[in-house]
Subunit: 671 residues, 2 copies
């Protein structure tokens, strides 16, 4: 009761669920914030956007300006990889209000002695604040304010004093030193500023044990032996080398080839059956060379300008040390046994799930700490990128806590969520902290499905927190469209590499491997259960294409952004046509969306791997600064060919048997 | 750390700003709530909608059901005029999950001994809860559960035990007694359930001092003398008799006729210049007969089936007792004087504004209490409807506190916000508690303006908290369209009475009065500054029309709802065509919007008071249960005429010089 007269600040955008979850940006981005700001009565208002690193005491500040019907907007640059907080502060602009009222009265020719007296009081207060503020602008303001006050004392007429008070530079100086003691400050809203790899990266997934040099002689390789592959992976332009779990593999109920229950002598087992007498999640399998081999491998990856991603799967083989040391972390059936993992009727006889539902809060807390320590152990060993297996079967608050614990001292750690589940759970995991997420890309095949799905990902609220990493395939997913062979691999590679700033392939993809187990979405002779060897130069491979795509991704900054995807008009039934470009000039102060774009990359892909199509592309030319009737230059970004076009009607022939895509930029003619 | 595995409940709808403000309903409505509900892992879930009066301990409860992709929905009837809270609770359906897993295993022909043991444990626990639960259903469930457990003990085969566990009635009984000890409960969300008058009412505004019987002899009337008008107002079907302030009027700077600064002897002054030696906001002017006359007037209004609305204006004449008693509630200029109210260049020399910004928190708190006491005094005198003058120039937290204080013991009190200001402030006042709001209706004149504005009011989020009360005119607003005379009065009356469930006219409207001061939006010889007298039976009056409209509003319940307005297709340039109808059958569980409607009232109005128009109306026939090709009956609700139509193409001629509107219902042919 009896609150002071306050300014209302509401509908701050962006924000997620009333500030419950952080929005995401990367270093180098700008944060644009809008808010409704208004107050009772007729005073003018003023407002600032505030920003600070979480835990810091000082705020960075930028002015906000009204843009539409009580909606205000402001922007600040993001420079540090850290969790941040932002807020909006607003206050009554008392001198500005007095200034406006005085101007009206002078105009209307009515008495204004009270305004003159009030104006002088406000100026004196502003001078006090300017004098004690640091910086050159403040000093200049203090001089100006003091001069105006002296003028008011000297002036012999009311009209003269009004003229002094109404001077525009005085208004600006006074507004720079407002009385903010009764300002309204909004709740602080969270913001995660990641490093760039959180948004941009090409991932290459491989099983280190399957990297023997001679394709005719498959044999289990160590991490040291696998390093011979790194120069080529780097040459193809990949950024992240990602490996399935590298820990000791259990023996009990070890799976044989093609997921069979009767492992033969020499079968290597699934790397997801984690843990043996040799150790658990903090150990490296002896057959891979142990921890030292891993550390050497990591260094070699970094020497090639890439980084390592590890796969953390929260589960255990029956031989994992924790099964004996911590029976309370497993779920025991009424008969005392531990049930293996299953998703009926699928069975994982070689894996025990972890039980997060223990009734004892101490046991639960110890379990959470143990897993945090697993991640921290690998962070201390130099791993900064984690792919997390099946996070949706573990408690969501656990992830929120764990990621925040790790990122507190290591904000550069990236977490990729492998949650192939229902949309709302995938979204929630992204909201509670996962840096990137797997997507439904793999199952979106037609032009319209792709357009609808990526419109949702990049234009809905999801763009604030959900960064899709598009995998063409994974050891678990051999999509049915690969049955069409090379054309499908080309189409899906182009889509993955250009629709999102993050994408990945699982090795074998570049060789257009698609041998299928029965008619299921699984690979025949899957590396999950056996050692494989490949001829990395087999004919028909698409390594040149992947190299081209990764080169373009590095050369064209537009491909490194995520929510700049815009679908363009096309006359055709199968062809997807889109643009990625960089914002040009100031964004719309209201929506934050750019008005104009520069350095555009256009991609047209025939999504059908069988039927050729002639498509007519209709790019929005004015959006990139070209008039509808102006001639312009089209440069094919793969071949380098240039030609001149005029008008937004470009015919292209996209033939799956030949080249089912085109990637180009457009710009003014050379002078 | 170490939280239990929880169910996520998010995106509960409806809600305002994360539960910061209450949504609004009236007694007799149903509350439909939807929410996203999901959890880690593969368990089945279950959920309830909870509701209780604020401060009550027990919750009323209704089951929620999944309707789409992790979205759940539930409904409860609202029976009490009170502030409520609602919430969603969700939990893992352990027996249901076990039931589903067992069914899959039986189907797949794999062992299920563990599931049998677990099922028995869960049944025993459910039996314990059912046995201690009250009610006949619980007793029957306990019998069923006990029988199943006995059967499990007796059965000699696993298949037999599985069959017992898989029985559908057992599943239902067990699910009625879940273990909710680890359930997730959402935050509680606020809900105001008003009495029906909050949504539905026809208001008639009059100055009691201007009600002399002889139009040729204007003289100031008392409240007792004004009662002769009540039978007619009641006969015309109005529900609320609303009076501008009735308090003692100040003498200092009293305004003369037509807002002149030089009041003549005998000038009565503006009732908004409140307070004199006779008293302030809790007193009734002596010239109106004082408090006793008011109480008699109120009783007489009620005897005619209507109720009184008072106007509270938070401001004071320089003669108000508080000016001396509480100088700290007024703002003093540097020279010690109190500035009169102004909104430059508009001036109110007879009025002091109240200062809510005193630096002393105790003074501010005392001021808030004083105004609360003003409202409470009138509530205790039987006034349950207040029109609040200019609330947007007082602090918003003040209104939130005051309305909540008054409604705590008097939930039946209705507050109408007279905030003719910018949209966001009007919305905020509605959010913090105002029951109804004035709108921009008065200035929306063309068909398209009206359609756009009322779409926003009744279909956007505003429908949850903002109830527009459409005034055709007020003592301050003589809209420019009245210059067109009677046709404009007819058109605007029909629109006001049918677009919203609440509307009002200021007396003189029924006589098509439109004499204008200069070319401003003000009345000539305004009652605000002088006593008027009228011939209430003057030729050309539209009393019959108002009577018809109010009769239809009482007969047709569809006109008593607010957010059931739906614009219908029309081929014409000036004609607005819309339907108000009652929801029929269950609403869409996802959106809460009805699928089908009944008892429709259709209104077509030519919004142009000058040009006749032939319009072709295209009602959505299937929405009211009539096939596109079926013959149906059209009943004119004013004349009672019936005719048969077929197809959604009804021609009407709407002539401002004759009848510029039509109001009808449609239904199946009589059999």
């Amino acid at each position: 009761m009896g609150t002071r007269r306050t300014v209302v600040i509401e509908r701050i955008a962006p924000q997620l669920d009333g500030g419950r979850f952080p929005i995401k940006r990367v270093v180098g981005d700008e944060l644009q914030v809008t808010a409704d700001i208004f107050a009772d009565g007729h005073d003018l208002l003023d407002a600032s956007l505030l920003l600070r690193v979480e835990g810091a005491s000082a705020w960075e500040e930028a002015p906000m300006r009204p843009v539409d019907n009580d909606r205000w907007s402001g922007r600040l640059a993001l420079r540090r990889n850290a969790r941040h907080r932002y807020a909006v502060e607003a206050w009554r602009d008392r001198f500005g209000s007095l200034h406006a009222a005085l101007a009206k009265k002078v105009e209307a020719g009515v008495p204004y002695a009270t305004e003159l007296a009030e104006g002088r009081e406000l100026l004196e207060a502003a001078l006090g604040r300017a004098s004690s503020a640091p910086g050159r602008t403040a000093a200049a303001d203090a001089t100006l304010l003091a001069g105006a006050l002296a003028g008011l004392r000297r002036s012999r007429s009311e009209a003269g004093r009004a003229a002094i008070l109404l001077a525009e530079p005085l208004l600006e100086a006074a507004r720079r030193h407002p009385d903010r003691s009764a300002a309204t400050r909004s709740d602080e809203l969270p913001l995660m500023v990641d490093r760039e790899r959180a948004r941009f990266g090409a991932w290459y997934e491989l099983f280190p044990r399957s990297q023997s040099r001679d394709p005719r002689k498959p044999r289990a390789t160590t991490l040291d032996e696998a390093t011979w592959r790194l120069p080529e992976i780097a040459r193809l332009g990949f950024d992240v080398v990602y490996m399935p779990p590298i820990h000791p593999i259990g023996h009990t109920n070890r799976k044989g080839r093609n997921n069979s229950l009767d492992a033969k002598r020499g079968d290597v087992g699934s790397p997801y059956a984690i843990g043996s007498a040799d150790g658990g999640h903090d150990a490296v399998a002896r057959e891979l060379g142990g921890l030292d081999a891993f550390l050497r491998f990591r260094e070699e990856v970094e020497r090639h300008g890439m980084e390592v991603a590890l796969d953390i799967a929260i589960q255990a083989s029956p031989d994992h040390p924790w099964v004996k040391e911590h029976p309370e972390w497993f779920r025991h059936a009424p008969d005392g046994t531990i049930k293996y993992a299953e998703n009926p009727p699928k069975k994982y006889q070689d894996i025990y799930p972890i039980e997060f539902g223990n009734d004892d809060p101490e046991a639960r807390a110890a379990l959470w700490r143990a897993w945090r320590d697993v991640f921290m152990t690998w962070v201390e060993r130099g791993v900064k990128v984690f792919r997390v297996d099946n996070p949706h079967t573990k408690p969501i608050p656990f992830w929120e806590w764990l990621i925040s614990e790790v990122q507190r001292d290591h904000p550069d750690v990236v977490f990729l969520s492998e949650a192939f589940t229902r949309p709302k759970m995938m979204q929630r995991l992204a909201k509670v902290g996962f840096t990137q997420s797997y997507t439904y890309f793999t199952w979106r095949e037609t032009r319209d499905e792709l357009r609808d799905y990526f419109t949702e990902l990049t234009l809905s609220e999801m763009r604030e927190y959900f960064r899709g990493n598009l995998f063409t395939n994974t050891p678990d997913i051999n999509p049915h469209h690969t049955d069409h062979g090379r054309p499908a691999f080309v189409i899906r590679s182009v889509l993955a590499a250009t629709l999102s700033s993050s994408y990945g392939v699982y090795s074998g993809w570049e060789l257009c491997e698609y041998a299928r187990l029965d008619d299921r979405e699984e690979y025949l002779d899957s590396e999950k259960y056996e050692v494989r060897a490949r001829d990395w130069d087999a004919p028909g491979n698409i390594k040149d294409l992947l190299g081209d795509l990764n080169r373009l991704r590095r050369e064209w900054r537009a491909l490194q952004h995520y929510d700049n995807l815009r679908f363009e008009a096309v006359t055709a039934g199968r062809t997807l046509f889109y643009r990625k470009a960089l914002p040009h000039g100031d964004p719309d102060p209201l929506t934050g969306f750019p008005h104009r774009w520069r350095e555009p990359v256009y991609v047209a892909v025939n999504c059908d791997p069988v039927t050729p199509e002639r498509a007519f592309l209709h790019p929005d030319l004015p959006a990139v600064g070209i008039g509808w009737d102006e001639p312009y230059q089209v440069i094919d970004l793969v071949s380098g060919e240039r030609r001149t076009e005029r008008g937004a009607d470009i015919a292209v022939d996209l033939d799956p048997a030949g080249t089912p895509f085109t990637i180009f930029t457009i710009g003014p003619l050379d002078r």
